[in-house]
Symmetry: D2
Subunit: 380 residues, 4 copies
């Protein structure tokens, strides 16, 4: 029962590699096991928004961690460029959350106070001001919230950079290696079993995204992590359309480099089917064209989807398994995987090293599921 | 000035190869010159409808030739399968031309008499009858015309089969060989010049589709053949949606094998830009979903376009050049290239052999452009 | 515990669909569960050889079943065309197994007697005769065996046709649905568990190819089915090169329609990694060019691979599970999946219906693994 | 005869856009006309080597311009990143030109003196030193020349960055717009004719690469610019293989980011056929594996080709047309298009502005063709 690595990470996506990167910076040896190719699932499907304000509708632990993680990006960009020569293309031109109805206006305006209280630079723009800031947006809005600090990165490049940086620090990886079972011994997880071998280690971290349920079901504490498909499409245009990311309840438009725009994303729960639906394309197009009529003149590029892991209370699970010692989970990041990837790496590395974790992280623990079941209200 | 081939065909699309096939069956030696790869432009972009009734709004020579060409397909299918082992997948389940407005109803009903007079099996269906025949169609129509004999083929396979059949009979082809000039001698076309050589022959046929203008401009009789982009998309679904092709003024839906549906086609004149526009996709989707609501549940496949050659009076040019002896043209087939390909091959082979041609073919002659200019009304 | 289907088939590849087709022809209700998309793994990666003589080095049950299955293809082609309008493109121009060394010559000649005894039309050709039959083959061979009855089909089309035919007869399918556990009750398999539901049925058939081990490991009778990657490449050429399939020990060349040639296949055991190796491409190219020097002039098309299921004794497992009632397996077809697909469907349908099975089928039973373990020599 | 632009550039590849960039920095208005999509031909097919030492076998004007252009890259990288946010990924880890035979050793060693004389850092390495510097290279070499300053960029990114920078400075572009004729008036080129319009300007620059011959043939001074196809392939590997570019007479290996290696390039003259030949792939693989045996373990990625413009004396043509005033040419860069792109932009902008040009540039003038014809020896 030879243990070659201090930590096994099951799942070679952005969360797995961010953790591998944090651990290997601390001198801990890591093996990443990936059932297909690394970063080929939702890690590369994301539009790359760093949308603390847009995605999080109330304050609380997740909002605090989101802000903290977003603020890590400028230093992270420099660090990853230095280590890997990959430019993650961080852009911080802000984000416009646009109201298309009176109801949306009220909801969005309701988000401003707690953000200001937290020190975020957010402001409300009238319909005219919205058009002044982004002239391609339709005049027919109810205004919008401008969040100056939100931004975006190139998600596939960030995923690749985390992986390359971790590998350069000694992390190993095995692709096309599916973990089919956890190996337990006296109430402790001591390794994993693949189709062809048994690999032992004192610590196993599951970063298996929407595919987390299968491995956990054999433990006495299964988590409800379920898949939500997000469909996207992209278009290109020579004429510049937008500088800032534009966000609404059912559709966002992210301006990428060289005149490329990503339009996303549907939310279709409980399916692993990666095919894009006609209704999804149709709905995204209708909404995007209504917001930015000039999009009609753009050229079609392509469609794709990602299967994102969602949880019952909308917060990821990051922590140790309540009953199986040596097993850890970081999953359920849903639409915040890119945003939260840097801080998830650091949090999990702290947990692995046994450091004290703060109250916000506590709120993401797996144990909260027990409290939920017993009727205690979760804190966002 | 060695002449190795009796006929040079400039343009390796479906029209060029259909002519090559007809000529080589008659023992005439042919060289096809193609500037890119064969069959890569609109010949392979077509949805493959054989829509005599739907596409031709009045009787006349083009309608007669269309019917004749359509009726050649059953024998052609057997012949090409025998010669090439390629199945062109002829399906003759009929076509439904659906009226979405009162105006469309009147237009379509106006097309019935001349078709019946010509012996076509066409009938008018009430909105309820339309749904009876194709239950996936919306109840909100003004009825439709059912043409029992119309059908479809797999356009890329038909294009490939014509080419393979011609080659098996001795036709030669040079790909990636652009003709940059016609060689003339004493008012006669005696060959062509490519980037690298001069090739001589007594007869040169231009089957250059939307790219016909450039070579003709140096003659004293340029034709107005102009490009019209047609954009298409395809979707797939397990649940069978349609058996017959459904046609409207701005959108058609062609059921292909294995649950694949082609939705086409926009008409964007005067562009060679093959990129698909967002407005095109959006418009096709809106119309198709309005007609067949269940299309929403289908899976997205892809988008593409074809650059189709159109003429001023909507009829192709098939005939000899009015002033440059030895030069022939078969171009301008617009949306009828697949339908008219078999008969175009036969007509041009007759012309090359100096056979008498009938009145209908006369109406497609290049000379008609002179008459048009002089105010004589063209006959469709 | 509602049972909606008489039979559940886990695995939507060619074997699963062939069985579904046979069962549904007999009026038995079937649900196919596929973890990704149907037919996307080795079923569509195969070159489609029907190579009884080339692949089976000695007589015995597998050879007999191979012959029987091959002889089913002409009728199957007509039947599937009728039911699905898909042409599986059966070609029976024979196969040449070429000897490149004296040792290969001896091995191949040693295969002739048992084949002749079985009534196969096989003959030995001298090096000159080889070139006479296929003039593109190098003169530098030690001759070859010609098997007149062997042939080929278009593997992706056959896979699609089995599926479409089964569906048209009432078989249902769920894609992107991974089975994560068998449900057992009192020593009986009574259904399967997916990520999202439990599905009950009295009969469960595993047609999971190289991915069979995981589900069986929880039973007390795991089978050793292991993956062997086969890498292929394809080229195209206008000039016809071959009519018959050419086979050697490390490389075969299969002429497909329209001037396309498939060159395969490497055998790399114990990997699920679908990426193609540089060494694989290099080795296939070297061998193929040595055999058919004119291949050098062909155009490159693409490379791909398939993960094939192999067993310890080289024979597939087709039969009931020795200890878990209600569970059946059809896996381990290795390089004979296309060839054996028709007969596997019929055999498994017989087993499900409780019909007597013959001695040849007996030899493929799962029970033989016990005998092997106890030292009894397996019969090929 | 309205002239909207001071300069028309025919050809939207890297040379056209580099010139457009230089001109627009100087406040000159430019329209780029591209027959297909910008940068889709050899500009994006190149491996991106900046190989002054490896590609230029003797001193002289081309060598001097090559050095000068290469030395422009560090500043250019910063400038383009600033203007476009595109990172051209300049790497200057040096280049190893490896001798595989005694003859190659002599040839390469013969190149060292003139380079040292020019101030280049080049040195000769013994076979052992070669392996010390790049341990993956075979021990079976005759040594190699190490050029410390040579490097590489990401060619598609450089092409895109030139275009985006030019557009941001006001350059306009029309894609899918083929120029079918030059418009001349009294011995002067005054514009161009496309399929759909006439565009007038006092200055027209042809940057049409291998497609330059057609437009020039109608002038009284056609240039012999001919196509040479270069075929490439790429592989990926987790294990780092090389840091420096490795170059030999028939094959080079360029290490790109994230474990990707480009292996190039064949030289097949006088074809516009972009398809990759089996012989090309086979020859590149054989040579590359002989040099770097561990390449066998890499994963296959893809193959592609570029059609490069070559001239009789191996030097590009950069200058004004000898007899047709207002017409300029920058073409024939062959394998040095990426390397020479920055300086070509500056040279042509100087010529357009009527600035004095130096002796090295003089040597690339179109007039030299006259001298060649009259027996005067060209200077490299």
């Amino acid at each position: 029962m030879r243990k070659m690595y201090e930590v096994l990470i099951v799942g070679g996506g952005i969360i797995g590699h961010s953790i591998a990167y944090s651990l290997s910076k601390r001198g801990i040896s890591v093996l990443v096991l990936e059932k297909g190719q690394i970063n080929e699932k939702s890690s590369s499907a994301a539009a790359g928004m760093l949308a603390v304000q847009a995605e999080m509708k109330k304050g609380g632990p997740l909002f605090e961690l989101g802000r903290k993680s977003r603020n890590m990006f400028p230093a992270l960009q420099a660090e990853l460029k230095e280590r890997t020569n990959i430019d993650i293309q961080l852009i911080q031109h802000g984000m416009l959350t646009v109201a298309r109805t009176k109801e949306e206006k009220e909801t969005i305006q309701g988000m401003i106070p707690f953000q200001k209280a937290a020190g975020e630079e957010v402001s409300w723009l009238s319909p005219d001001e919205v058009v002044e800031v982004e002239p391609s947006i339709t005049r027919n809005t109810f205004g919008g919230m401008y969040a100056a600090k939100d931004g975006q990165v190139e998600a596939p490049k960030l995923s690749k950079a985390f992986a390359k940086a971790a590998y350069s620090l000694g992390t190993h990886v095995k692709e096309y290696t599916e973990v089919i079972n956890l190996i337990t011994d006296k109430g402790k997880c001591v390794g994993v079993e693949t189709e062809s071998e048994r690999i032992y280690s004192d610590k196993v971290i599951l970063t298996t995204g929407a595919w987390t349920k299968r491995l956990l079901q054999t433990t006495d504490f299964p988590l409800h992590v379920y898949p939500v498909k997000g469909e996207c499409l992209s278009v290109t245009t020579k004429e510049p359309l937008l500088e800032k990311t534009v966000f609404t309840d059912g559709c966002y438009i992210v301006p990428k480099s060289s005149g490329r725009y990503i339009i996303g994303a549907t939310m279709i729960p409980n399916t692993f089917d990666e095919r894009v639906s006609v209704s999804g394309v149709s709905s995204l197009l209708d909404q995007a064209i209504a917001l930015i009529p000039k999009l009609k003149n753009a050229h079609w590029e392509k469609v794709w989807s990602g299967i994102r892991p969602q949880t019952t209370d909308g917060k990821p699970y990051i922590g140790n398994h309540p009953s199986l010692k040596g097993l850890f989970v970081a999953s359920g990041h849903y639409r915040n995987g890119i945003l939260l990837s840097p801080i998830t790496g650091e949090i999990m590395a702290d947990i692995i090293e046994g450091k004290n974790i703060d109250q916000n992280v506590e709120a993401l623990s797996l144990q909260r599921q027990l409290k939920e079941a017993s009727g205690v209200e979760p804190t966002y």
